[in-house]
């Protein structure tokens, strides 16, 4: 099915993209339900998501997916009809089903195998909810909130939500009148209860413009119907304008169909499965009166055919008034013009007013465009070139000695601002809310907590915070691991929690926010905090820390990041998989981020990840070391100062520290560290950059001078050269030369001070 030449492949790809969006809204909806927002709109969103996935899956013959989605949908239908209260037990099942649906969709996309046993188990659970609901299925429309958006809606005992996917009311008014609206929704209801002596249905099928636009053909649908039994049709051409006003892409025709068949309604609906969203479909059981009405109309039509040309115009002019009764005739064989409300159950009419405010809400989603990521990347690259170009121009203007000219200065400033703005806008295109990431984490929490028998609630904050897409993609793995850790190790068992006077349900909070040009992601649990004595003992056992080491709390916490460290005394099948926090840390670091840890005994642990907004540009300080130009990321520099003789203190052999406000910070000669020069005799008069490390310790890096502060475009070195120690990347400066971008943390770690078994940051902090 997915051979490269397959024209379906592209459509299929689109389907899966849509699936992702639908799954997201499904997850969202379920989350809202869990938070107690059980309004009809929310339930409808959930229902619609599953339904649409089912519809699409059917088109691609994804049987497993269709089957599962169908059952899932049925249960949601029961929830929607208020037969099944979405309490926590039901929600747990729904969440499970949601996860399974996710898996099925991705399995279908990648052609993977699926866990049939798990699917069957969940289906079974789902089935227990459906059975209780079947009997009362017919009542569903009474509670259906969205019937108001339909025109003559005896619509959809099964799918009352679908019309919400219809175009806005204005468009509906094109195809039919709005007068019947308030009474809609239930007019067929009474009859369904009667039980008809005839086997068959009356169908009113009104295509909308979008039905044709999406390439459907009513003829085929009608043919399919005709295969199901004895069929007679009446084409309602009353909406047909004069030839002059006729627009070929519009839908003017509607059909009334009487179908005598032994098939049940759902089989019948299957035919319309793919056009449900783009037509108005009314199906009700057949009665004798319907047949009569049809016959009268058919003969009337035959008579009028002879004088069709003028009749077309007449109908057009008179249609606003004439139409409503005509449309109702399928219910009402009796004299035309009989007031419609008489048919309705008055009791349900007030309910129809309620959903009205929902309509604007549904249409509020902003229009979006799907763009190939490659194109955006190209744009990002071009903007990068623009930034370099701008730097080049300003440099050459400076070198030409034209600084005194205010016009050039202003122009240049404006150019700079524009460049920056373009840059920001382009970055924004790449940016995505972290919501999708958090949603994946919600699932991890559910699964992990179920595995270890803890009840855990995941709270998320700042879901709308936007981060570069690449960053989000690379963050998933480390974050998954951290979440597992938090559930498995961070939170206590329910018993321990009770003993500690905490509620049994543990809380894990995942928060994201923008803070001073970086993205901060915080993962905190309200568990017992880090058991520092045990961590230290473990570290000593493993030879990661010297025996009888006196370590501060922060230092002990940071032991967790060492390779080969795992605190769980028993390696559970969840976290202690050999992937330690060191892997998490290096993953974060490779994104140009930092991770730090903060723990309060008895209160919990917080991991803070700080990430750059983008991987394409950074604000840097341009410095000079031994005639080489180097860019230091601005975010790592907390302070700069000039070295005077009285602040330098030597410390044993060759090492020196600098005194900064009652603190001693180790000094590191960048030039020597990078191999550009031998260590100097004296550093007096040079500039130091105070670098903050993850563990909040500091390091003073000596450079010759500070040249500039500017935005630089990151050019990867790894493609051409592999990783260079202490260097994060390269950039191109205004003069066209390449400057290296320093990775201060890496420099510090590679520096001679960190060569012993003692972890670098410990020895640094000392």
């Amino acid at each position: 099915m997915n051979t490269p030449n397959d024209p379906m492949a592209e459509i299929r790809a689109t389907f899966f993209v849509e699936c992702e969006e639908l799954l997201e809204s499904l997850q969202d909806g379920l989350q809202s339900l869990e938070n107690g927002e059980t309004d009809d709109e929310t339930i409808n969103v959930v229902f619609r998501a599953v339904h649409s996935i089912k519809g699409g899956a059917g088109a691609f013959g994804l049987e497993d997916l269709v089957e599962f989605a169908h059952k899932f949908e049925s249960v949601l239908d029961a929830v929607r009809s208020h037969e099944l209260a979405p309490d926590s037990a039901v929600l747990a099942v729904l969440f499970q089903a949601n996860d399974m649906l996710n898996d099925l969709v991705f399995a279908a996309r990648n052609g993977d195998d699926i866990d049939k046993a798990r699917s069957a188990r969940i289906l079974e659970t789902l089935a227990t909810y459906i059975d209780s609901e079947d009997a009362s299925d017919d009542d569903v429309p009474d509670f259906t909130p969205m019937t108001l958006t339909l025109d003559f809606d005896e619509n959809s005992d099964e799918d009352p939500a679908d019309p919400k996917a219809l175009p806005p009311l204005a468009e509906l008014a094109d195809t039919a009148d709005g007068m019947a609206l308030p009474e809609s929704g239930t007019s067929g209801h009474d009859k369904t209860q009667d039980g008809s002596p005839l086997n068959g249905f009356v169908i009113r099928f009104e295509p909308q413009d979008s039905l044709f636009a999406s390439g459907n053909e009513p003829l085929y649908l009608l043919r399919l119907l005709s295969e199901m039994g004895e069929m007679s049709t009446f084409c309602d051409a009353s909406a047909l304008p004069s030839l002059k006003g006729l627009r070929q892409e519009k839908a003017y025709l509607a059909w009334e169909i009487i179908l005598e068949t032994d098939e049940d309604e759902s089989t019948l609906r299957e035919i319309f499965d793919f056009v449900e969203d783009v037509c108005t479909l009314t199906i009700k059981p057949l009665e004798h009166s319907d047949i009569l009405a049809m016959e009268t109309r058919q003969s009337a039509k035959r008579k009028s055919i002879g004088k069709k040309p003028s009749a077309g115009e007449d109908t057009q002019q008179s249609s606003p008034k004439a139409e409503p009764p005509a449309n109702e005739t399928d219910n009402i064989p009796a004299p035309e013009g009989q007031p419609v409300p008489a048919q309705n159950n008055p009791a349900v009419v007030p309910a129809d007013n309620k959903p009205a405010p929902n309509r604007p809400k549904a249409s509020k989603t902003k229009p979006t465009v799907r763009v190939d990521l490659g194109r955006i990347d190209r744009l990002v690259n071009l903007v990068g070139e623009l930034v370099i170009n701008q730097a080049m121009i300003s440099q050459s203007i400076q070198e030409a000695g034209l600084q005194a000219n205010p016009e050039i200065d202003n122009g240049l400033n404006e150019f700079m601002q524009l460049t920056r703005e373009i840059q920001d806008s382009v970055m924004m295109i790449r940016a995505q809310p972290v919501k999708s990431l958090f949603q994946r984490m919600a699932r991890i929490v559910r699964e992990t907590s179920a595995d270890v028998g803890k009840t855990v609630q995941l709270r998320t904050e700042g879901e709308t915070t936007e981060v570069d897409k690449t960053v989000i993609e690379h963050l998933a793995d480390p974050l998954t691991h951290m979440i597992r850790n938090a559930v498995d190790h961070g939170l206590e068992t329910p018993q321990d929690r009770r003993a500690a006077g905490k509620p049994e349900e543990g809380i894990i909070t995942l928060a994201a926010e923008h803070r001073s040009g970086r993205v901060i992601i915080e993962l905190s649990d309200d568990g017992a905090g880090i058991d520092r004595p045990r961590v230290l003992q473990k570290a000593i056992e493993k030879g990661l820390a010297p025996e009888n080491a006196e370590l501060s709390d922060t230092e002990i916490d940071n032991l967790l990041f060492l390779p080969g460290f795992s605190t769980a005394s028993e390696v559970s099948n969840l976290s202690g998989r050999g992937v330690g926090m060191d892997v998490v840390r290096s993953a974060i670091q490779s994104l140009g981020g930092r991770i730090s840890i903060h723990s309060v005994p008895g209160k919990g642990t917080t991991f803070t990840i700080s990430l750059p907004l983008t991987l394409a540009v950074l604000d840097g300080m341009v410095v000079e070391v031994a005639q080489q130009t180097i860019v230091v990321p601005l975010s790592t520099i907390s302070e700069t100062l000039m070295l005077t003789p009285d602040v330098i203190r030597s410390l044993g052999t060759g090492a020196s520290v600098v005194q900064i406000r009652e603190r001693f910070v180790p000094l590191l000669d960048l030039g020597a560290e990078m191999g550009f020069r031998a260590p100097l005799e004296s550093y007096v008069g040079m500039v130091v950059l105070l670098i903050s490390l993850e563990d909040e310790s500091q390091m003073a890096i000596i450079v010759d001078m500070i040249r500039d502060q500017r935005q630089v475009v990151i050019k990867g070195l790894e493609d051409t050269f592999g990783r260079v120690p202490g260097v994060a990347a390269a950039t191109i400066l205004g003069d066209g030369k390449i400057a290296l971008i320093l990775d201060p943390v890496d420099v510090v770690e590679n520096s001679g001070t960190g060569d012993t078994d003692i972890p670098t940051n410990l020895s640094l902090a000392g």
Partner: protein
């Protein structure tokens, strides 16, 4: 200069010859992307001695290898007339710093002879063939062994 596609048919090879120190070397012209004048390179810390650094090649980062140093003849003292030959090997662009470009030769493949086994000649392994042009010996460089395609950082 003959068309390069013709070479394939006539079993000819076109070589770009250049000077490193007082020796004459050559590479298959098909692997040459461009020839540039010398611009000072940004040195990379902790890099092998034969890596002179990186330069900006129209927006991308190009690693420069000092061929003289690589062949064991000491670093080139760069002057204005040194040139960088940008070659592509193993899908990667690398700049070769050489003393000067000499000529373009068109030779039949049969004119190339395998290098003789010379004990303890350090740079020998980088030479894939030898040929004689006007009484001078031209060494055809084996780019793949001269420029390891794995990351160069390991010293």
């Amino acid at each position: 200069m003959t068309d390069s596609t013709e070479n394939l048919q006539t079993n000819e090879i076109e070589l770009l010859t250049f000077r490193v120190g007082d020796q004459e070397y050559a590479v298959d012209i098909m692997s040459v992307r461009e020839i540039r004048g010398w611009t000072s390179a940004t040195p990379l810390p902790h890099a092998p001695s034969f890596v002179r650094g990186v330069i900006n090649l129209r927006g991308t980062v190009l690693t420069i290898v000092d061929l003289s140093e690589r062949l064991g003849m000491g670093t080139i003292a760069v002057r204005e007339r040194n040139v960088i030959i940008v070659v592509q090997t193993a899908g990667q662009n690398i700049g070769l710093l050489v003393d000067a470009v000499s000529d373009i030769l068109s030779l039949p493949l049969s004119a190339l002879q395998p290098p003789p086994e010379v004990p303890s000649a350090g740079s020998n392994s980088f030479v894939s063939a030898l040929t004689i042009v006007k009484d001078r010996m031209v060494r055809v460089l084996d780019l793949n062994s001269a420029l390891p395609c794995e990351p160069l950082e390991a010293t």
